[in-house]
């Protein structure tokens, strides 16, 4: 065998191995979609990826069993609000930490860093009483405030700071000469140059909020206020057993749009996570 043939065989083996490993990553998505179209009886019958009878009715019942459209809307607008708020606040603080000199900066950084890894379970009990005291139970405020100002917001701040540090200072100095205020420099010069970092923060923040579960579980009680993950876990019968076909149809509706966006922008999305993982 020539060197070339060996290399081709080697490559083929690797690719085959990777395909096998890929099965448990892909299969759940396929099965989710397929089961979403099945009837209850078929779901527990012999497994087949293609439903024998396509039951579109499932996707109608999803909306009648719970106010699913409303819950869907809740998830979207909360995620957008958290993203917008986080972008503004983290880029402001990140800019100050990167570019401005002030007493206490070192201590403040240490303070914030210590928060980075703390799980939300640690602070959720006092936050529960705080939100209750504020009269914000069963509203969307805690789902907007806690993620924005919690460890995730700190992570976004550091990501922005890191990016600002790497920007050339000359443009900002020129802006200063032209009489721009600090706020003006931040808005007109620093932010436009930081689009990649802003995009990364936006992507990971949106997904963070979209997938949030503990806070909705604790702060929300009425169905109309639920967000998607909470709504999904709520497709159960009166005995608490899952209504599989409805639950999987609803899960399909919640997951597939995000997957489509991911497939279109996979490079950008993966890079955003790499950035946050390395810097955060």
């Amino acid at each position: 065998m020539t060197q070339r043939q060996i290399r081709i065989i080697y490559r083929t083996c690797w690719t085959l191995a990777l395909l096998i490993v890929a099965i448990p990553f892909v299969f759940p998505f396929l099965w989710m979609v397929s089961a979403g179209f099945k009837s209850v009886t078929e779901i527990f019958g012999a497994p087949s990826l293609i439903p024998r009878v396509w039951r579109f009715q499932n996707f109608v019942e999803v909306f009648t069993y719970q106010p699913f459209a409303r819950q869907y809307f809740n998830s979207i607008y909360i995620a957008l609000a958290v993203t917008a708020l986080t972008l503004v606040i983290s880029s402001l603080a990140g800019y100050a930490l990167a570019r401005m000199r002030f007493a206490g900066a070192g201590l403040l950084m240490l303070f914030l860093v210590s928060a980075l890894m703390v799980p939300e379970e640690v602070t959720i009990i006092p936050n529960f009483f705080l939100i209750k005291w504020m009269g914000l139970m069963d509203t969307h405020w805690p789902l907007i405030l806690l993620p924005t100002f919690g460890p995730h917001g700190v992570m976004a701040t550091f990501l922005m700071r890191q990016y600002f540090l790497a920007l050339p200072k000359e443009l900002e100095e020129a802006g200063r000469m032209d009489g721009l205020s600090r706020l003006g420099i931040w808005w007109r010069i620093a932010l436009p140059m930081s689009r990649p970092a802003l995009a990364a923060v936006a992507i990971i923040t949106f997904l963070f909020s979209w997938n949030l579960f503990l806070e909705p579980l604790i702060f929300l009680s009425s169905l109309e206020m639920f967000t998607l993950p909470l709504a999904l876990s709520n497709f159960t019968d009166t005995y608490g057993l899952p209504l599989w076909n409805l639950q999987l149809a609803a899960t399909t509706l919640a997951v597939v749009p995000i997957l489509i966006v991911y497939l279109i922008a996979q490079r950008q999305i993966i890079e955003s996570f790499a950035l946050s993982g390395v810097k955060g």
């Binding site: 990777l18 990553f25 299969f27 759940p28 806690l146 579960f213 993950p229 909470l230 997951v255 993982g277």
Partner: protein
Amino acid sequence: MTETILRQTTARPKDVPWLSLKYREMLEAWLFISPTLIGFLIFFLGPLMAIVYYSMTEWNLLTQQATFVGLDNFQDALFVNPDFWHVVRNSVIFALGLVPLNMALALTLALALSRPFFGVVFFRTVFFAPVITSAIAWAIVWKFLLQGEAGAVNQMLAWVGIDGPNWLREPNWAMAAVIVTRVIKMVGLNMILYIAALQAILRDYEDAARLEGASRWQIFRMIIWPLLAPTTLVIMVITTIGSFKVFDHIYQMTGGGPENGTLVLAYYIYQQGFEFFDVGYASALAMIMFVIVMVLTVVQVTVRRRGME
């Protein structure tokens, strides 16, 4: 009158002699940071201090009465309540199962996918897809797949003659199932971090090593693995802390059961605080979790600093 006040307040700080440029800059910096800082104090640092107090009270959420009991809750957790050590044991098993499996798979995949070849984008996209998916959705589907007899996993095992267990109804199998499905969900993230580190290494060193006639294994063992050490350590700590945070995945898949077989620390806090309304005890647990995470974070920071030197 109004006019003078207006003029005074709208006067630019620059014009005020006592506000030197240095102080102005400081003031501005604090203004920039204030939204983050105020929110941080209210929703993070304040609550963090509050649990120190809460953890020393006997507090029932239903009666709304708190009595100071000192370190009773900690004593209760560490020496009296057998549940606590069972939960710690579960959390440690979960971490010991998840972290090595996750890292080994992440590194293997990264090594396979750090060089361009036909299909590399496809594989990276596939392995990363579960990372962006909600843990609840992921757990719902896997719970469905892992049902006793009707589950797709067992039906497929039956094709090759294996009689699969009732995964989520037996404590040990349930733990294994939760670990493996969690690894599949999150391994893409570590894979990406490894790929980023590997690409930098390969660029700089591989050609030189290959010219010297080193084998693939030698290159990995002598060059890549040592150079990856800082990345490996950081990933290890992040993944370990991440394993202590897992809540939603377990909530949806097993609810901590069966027989508390998958009851881990994060879930135990939720259960004690919000299902059994034992605020004091739950806060003591939260304190313990905080200490664990802090220790791991300090390890990580030290390691990272050493890696940079």
